[in-house]
Amino acid sequence: MAHDHHDHDDDHPDNELDPVTARVRALETILVGKGLVDPAAIDAIVEAYETKIGPRNGAHVVATAWTDPGFAAWLKTDATAAIASLGYTGRQGEHMRAVFNTEGEHNLVVCTLCSCYPWSVLGLPPVWYKSPPYRSRAVIDPRSVLAEFGLGLPAYTSIRVWDSTAELRYLVIPQRPAGTEDLDAEALAALVTRDSMIGAGLARAPGKA
């Protein structure tokens, strides 16, 4: 059982493993061998973040806020409860705060000290979010960082950076794109990219979705 790795998609004879694969596999073998880890639990965790807990959750929150002023108001005052009402709770989303972009102010989220990220609404963070270039520069030179995402903000838009140094997790509510008056919540959600909910992008214009 401890060596039962036939369901891994990079299976090789042990002497061909790259060092990090070998290291992680050894650790799993040890912990499963000691009865400390259930490999099926790992599978279930992976499946949850691959199929259930991802940025579509956050897009649902954003589209609801765009279409329901009462929900938007609730999201502003108690994001944890408002988001939970849509069914999104739990790990790395226990204490949520929603921050709303306006014409005058753009929000950008970072965790300079590790990689804090609102898993319950955005899933697992992308590599760039966890990497030193973003973590080091988002707080000191966000305009250049945004430019590397192809996002050139007007000079009159101020930038507010949220460094997630405590257990609050931030969800950026991007501005609703123009020309979306006739779209329903589901169609709107399709315009909401993951990056736009971090602040590294904007919601897509309709027709480009």
């Binding site: 009865g35 790992i42 204490h95």
Partner: protein
């Protein structure tokens, strides 16, 4: 600690490299590393603060040369060793050769969804009133603790404004070292770019941190 994790304002790491249509995982080992980390934390012997400190305690050369799941894996080994779940002999043999002291309640597959949905709230009731209120001007302390802290170096000894009061939260600086939850009020404190970075700051920039009460003094 002024460790490799404290990246705000550091330079020399190059450009941000967003990946188009990035997959959730980039290799099968990443999936196992994530799962192992969550399953091991479910054993209940360490806190998220202790695990963060284990990660930032990697040698800086190792931290900066490692991907984030590699950092997690290396820290996980350290935590498992420290708490007696594994031994150096286990790691050398790449299998379980030493017995575990006693039975553990482990995370099973059928409990995963509920455990993820439950999470681990860190808010705690407070018996006292908050020292600061929204609008107050505060100065962050000039401290250089050798242990875990969540006050980044770039935001020390800076004057900002309390924007929100968030209630009590477990204090990482003690909790990471097994010295108790010692909950304190947490505040969102907002600084101008000029205050943090000087005259050459991005125009119109403000930056906030979430700060525990003992990080702050009245300005």
């Amino acid at each position: 600690m002024n460790g490799p994790q404290d990246l705000g304002g550091q330079m020399g790491f190059g450009l941000v490299a967003p990946e188009v249509e990035e997959p959730v995982f980039h290799a099968a080992w990443e999936k196992r590393a994530l799962g192992l980390t969550l399953c091991a934390s479910a054993l209940g012997k360490w806190t998220i603060d202790e695990s963060r400190h284990a990660r930032e305690s990697l040698h800086p050369a190792d931290y900066y040369a490692s991907s984030y799941y590699e950092i997690w894996t290396k820290a996980l080994e350290a935590l498992l060793l420290r708490h007696g779940f594994i031994t150096a002999a286990d790691l050398a043999a790449q299998r379980a050769v030493d017995l575990v002291p006693g039975p553990s309640r482990i995370l099973t597959a059928d409990n995963v969804a509920a455990a993820l949905a439950r999470g681990g709230p860190c808010d705690r009731p407070m018996a006292t009133s908050p020292r600061f209120a929204a609008g107050d001007r505060v100065r962050t302390r000039r401290t250089h603790p050798t242990g875990h802290t969540r006050l980044p170096r770039y935001a020390r000894d800076c004057v900002g404004t309390i924007e929100a009061v968030h209630g009590g939260f477990v204090f990482p600086d003690t909790n990471a070292h097994g010295a108790g939850e010692a909950q304190e009020y947490v505040y969102t404190v907002v600084f101008t770019g000029e205050e943090l970075w000087g005259e050459a700051a991005n125009p119109g920039l403000t930056v906030s941190i979430d700060a525990w009460e003992s990080y702050l003094v009245p300005a």
